[in-house]
């Protein structure tokens, strides 16, 4: 057990200082404004600069292949959060690149990876379907073999970043009659292919995602990843990482649960609100001197700290649930000015209202809270597979 400040070598300390300087200068007011305006959570200039400076490759590669050491990797992660580097599209790109490196045909693999490292190639996830839900194996988007090509028809939701990406990591159904985990084939589909239509959808937190339609999209076989009908193997690896199912190292140099980055906005908003109520107003009155304020702030701080101490798949639920529970109370404590958007005249810029709008998404994407409660119930508590009503139109046997 260890929660101490990490002692850095002179080299690592210099790296930390340089990372903070570099990222601080890179994420300008203009970058932040662009993000608010577009909801992209991606900035091409920033991304290309990170690639040009070699940071994308250093971050992605393991230390044994020349990437960051564990400690530098953690420094880099924390400094990116501090600087508020847009993160969504690099997150999907970096995750998908694991499958590309392992499963892509040699014909495309090296080009894609080169582009990933220099920032010119970005990739997004084509998992969820309009009629599907969190179960990525429920897939109606069809890919049909036609000579050396495949022809794809269907639609995908939540293809976040598609309009800033070159490829989509697409789950298709290639054998509708097979059991669902043996019916899937993965493709890395170039997004400039004819027949692909990207429609933007703004979400309540201010971000943008997309629905993407595939109409007779013709893709050469070289863009297939893994075996035909073997897509589950290809998709599972990054999915395990997304779900936090990969065992954490015990050097304490990583988040203890996924969604910790997102939960950081909650912790920061709570600190901001604490500063607001701890500061005297024009009349010399501090909000915290009202015991109802102190009580609610303390109780919610306790809930935040508990959620941030919760590991692995438990933490995934705890963090999103805490964001949902805590955000309305933080807004109440801050008072009516918490209703104003960031940058508003007379606003507090405490961000509690952002956390309130963001929290629903954090409990949905990356596998809903119910998916994780099912996993805990079944695999940790041994309660068995959940029982569902028989599918509509079929009678229970």
């Amino acid at each position: 057990m260890d929660f101490s400040r990490v002692e850095l070598s002179a080299d690592d300390a210099a790296f930390a200082a340089e990372a903070r300087r570099f990222l601080g200068e890179l994420v300008t007011e203009e970058v932040i404004a662009h993000d608010r305006e577009t909801g992209d959570n991606f900035h091409e200039g920033v991304h290309l600069a990170l690639g040009a400076a070699g940071y994308l490759e250093l971050e992605w590669k393991p230390e044994s292949e020349g990437g960051f050491s564990r400690v530098r990797s953690r420094i880099w992660q924390l400094e990116k959060r501090r600087a508020e580097v847009p993160w969504v599209t690099w997150g999907t790109t970096s995750m998908i690149a694991r499958s590309v490196a392992k499963f892509a045909s040699p014909e495309i693999r090296d080009d894609v990876m080169r582009g990933v490292f220099d920032g010119t190639v970005r990739m997004c996830l084509g998992y969820t379907e309009p009629e599907g839900g969190s179960d990525v194996a429920t897939c109606k988007t069809r890919a049909v073999r036609d000579g050396d090509d495949w022809v794809i028809n269907g639609a995908k939701m939540f293809t976040t970043g598609a309009h800033n990406c070159q490829y989509v990591f697409l789950i298709t159904n290639t054998d509708p009659d097979a059991p669902k985990h043996k019916s899937l084939t993965m493709f890395l589909v170039p997004l400039d292919t004819r027949g692909i239509e990207i429609q933007g959808i703004r979400t309540v937190d201010g971000d943008r995602t997309n629905i993407v339609y595939y109409s007779d999209v013709r893709v050469p076989d070289k863009y297939r990843l893994g075996e035909v009908n073997g897509g589950w193997t290809v998709v599972r690896e990054p999915l395990d990482a997304e779900h936090g199912a990969v065992a954490a190292a015990d050097d304490g140099l990583a988040d203890v649960a996924i969604m910790m980055h997102q939960a950081g906005f909650m912790a920061e908003a709570a600190d901001n609100v604490a500063a607001v109520v701890g500061t005297p107003d024009a009349g010399g009155h501090r909000g915290i001197d009202d015991t109802s304020v102190a009580y609610r702030l303390g109780r919610n701080m306790a809930r935040i700290e508990a959620s941030m101490s919760t590991p692995s798949i438990f933490g995934r639920v705890a963090l999103a649930q805490a964001m949902r529970d805590v955000a309305p109370e933080l807004m109440d404590i801050a008072g009516p000015a918490a209703a104003l958007p960031i940058g508003a005249d007379g606003g507090l810029d405490d961000r509690s209202e952002y956390v309130y709008r963001f929290a629903p998404l954090v409990g949905i994407y990356g596998g809903t809270l119910e998916v994780f409660r099912n996993m805990i119930a079944q695999h940790v508590l041994g309660l068995g597979k959940p029982n569902y009503a028989a599918p509509v139109g079929k009678k229970a046997s």
């Binding site: 057990m1 260890d2 929660f3 101490s4 400040r5 990490v6 850095l8 930390a16 953690r74 420094i75 924390l78 501090r82 015990d250 050097d251 304490g252 140099l253 990583a254 203890v256 920061e268 600190d271 901001n272 604490a274 500063a275 607001v276 109520v277 701890g278 500061t279 915290i288 304020v293 102190a294 009580y295 609610r296 702030l297 303390g298 109780r299 306790a302 809930r303 700290e305 508990a306 959620s307 101490s309 919760t310 590991p311 438990f314 933490g315 639920v317 705890a318 649930q321 119910e370 994780f372 409660r373 099912n374 119930a377 079944q378 508590l381 041994g382 309660l383 068995g384 959940p386 029982n387």
Partner: protein, 351 residues
């Protein structure tokens, strides 16, 4: 606070930790089964269990070596507290350990009987000091009672022990009025007294939070086992999300309460001024969640769960009573709120 500071987040237990945990888990499993717990309800105290526990070194472990202790860390003590809570052990170990540690810090621990546990120390664990007569959780079995009296921390003694009052936590609780004490020694005054007493309050909250973690985990486990073997419409109720998801939520509470307690203990051990809000936070979180979780565990077992004989109800009443022994948890929440607001407003003003 700098939320991006480079610190380790290593919750792992060492081999010594897991050995200690296993030893106490086995001890309480063997010597504090549910019959033992029930049998001690009238007095709130099992003397024979206490003597065995003391013989195992549980009272000396947390004391500094200078007074004959073993210098265990608070992290170590949270591991013991969790096991104690798991079996609802009817012994005033938390109060005694916190009280005797306070005596040691105030240079007032010169009794080998206290170190060995043959004399028991009780403490008033309320965040806001009461005046006049007050309920002391271990009052009826204590040889010494530590309370705040104005600006002083005082050690009280009574010719006859205060009388036990029935209470929902089945604690050896008693009304204690400092004015009627037969012995009264001022241990410390002013700023030092306040700081050291606050430390004792934080330790009491930390260890009570850990005990509640163990308590909640055990009642959850019993409820989960029940749900696996109880059928409705041909399926185990454990496979229905109306049952499994509330149980999963309790499992999440256990993990969070445990992680926070251990992190809080580490900071009190190593950097006590850095995160003073964490130990009270573990308590406020578990005080609220323990009652909810214990109620759900009863609910899962339905008509059988509500029986006074069911283990679930033994957990239900203590989940409330053990937390409430420290006074309204809201007073602790207020303490946390003030600590954080002072820290954050000072940090904001410094920018």
């Amino acid at each position: 606070m700098d939320r991006y500071e480079l610190r380790r987040l290593d919750y792992s237990l060492s081999e010594d930790h897991t050995d200690l945990q296993a030893a106490y888990r086995q001890f309480f499993k063997t010597h504090s089964d549910i019959e033992t717990v029930r049998a001690a309800e009238a007095t709130g105290f099992d003397k024979s269990l206490w003597e065995r526990l003391c013989a195992m070194g549980a009272t000396t472990m947390g004391l500094p070596e200078s007074v004959g202790g073993d210098g265990a860390t608070l992290v170590d003590l949270t591991l013991v507290a969790e096991e104690l809570g798991r079996t609802l052990a009817p012994v005033p170990w938390i109060d005694h350990v916190v009280g005797s540690r306070l005596l040691a810090r105030l240079d007032a621990l010169d009794s080998p009987e206290i170190v060995a546990g043959t004399q028991i120390v009780a403490i008033d664990p309320q965040q806001v000091a009461p005046t006049g007569a007050r309920l002391i959780p271990a009052g009826s079995v204590a040889d010494h009672v530590i309370v705040r009296d104005g600006d002083d921390v005082v050690l009280l003694g009574f010719a006859g022990r205060p009388v036990k009052v029935d209470n929902i936590g089945k604690l050896p609780m008693a009304w204690v009025d400092p004015a009627t004490a037969d012995r009264r020694t001022v241990l410390a005054s002013g700023q030092q007294a306040r700081a050291e007493y606050q430390r004792a309050l934080d330790e009491w909250r930390l260890l009570t939070a850990s005990a509640l973690v163990g308590l909640v985990e055990e009642t959850m486990t019993i409820a989960a086992e029940f749900a696996k073997t109880r059928y409705t419409l041909g399926v185990p109720i454990s496979t229905l999300q109306g049952i499994s998801h509330p149980l999963a939520n309790i499992a999440i509470t256990v993990q969070g309460g445990r992680g926070l307690s251990r992190r809080a203990a580490w900071f009190l051990d190593n950097e006590p001024d850095e995160r003073p809000e964490l130990a009270p936070s573990a308590f406020v979180f578990m005080a609220e969640e323990a009652a909810k979780a214990a109620t759900m565990a009863v609910h899962v077992q339905g008509g059988l769960g509500v029986s006074a004989e069911a283990a679930a109800t033994a957990y239900l009443v203590r989940a409330r009573g053990w937390a409430l022994a420290g006074g309204d948890p809201g007073a602790t929440a207020i303490h946390i709120g003030r600590l954080v607001a002072d820290r954050e407003s000072a940090a904001a003003a410094a920018v």
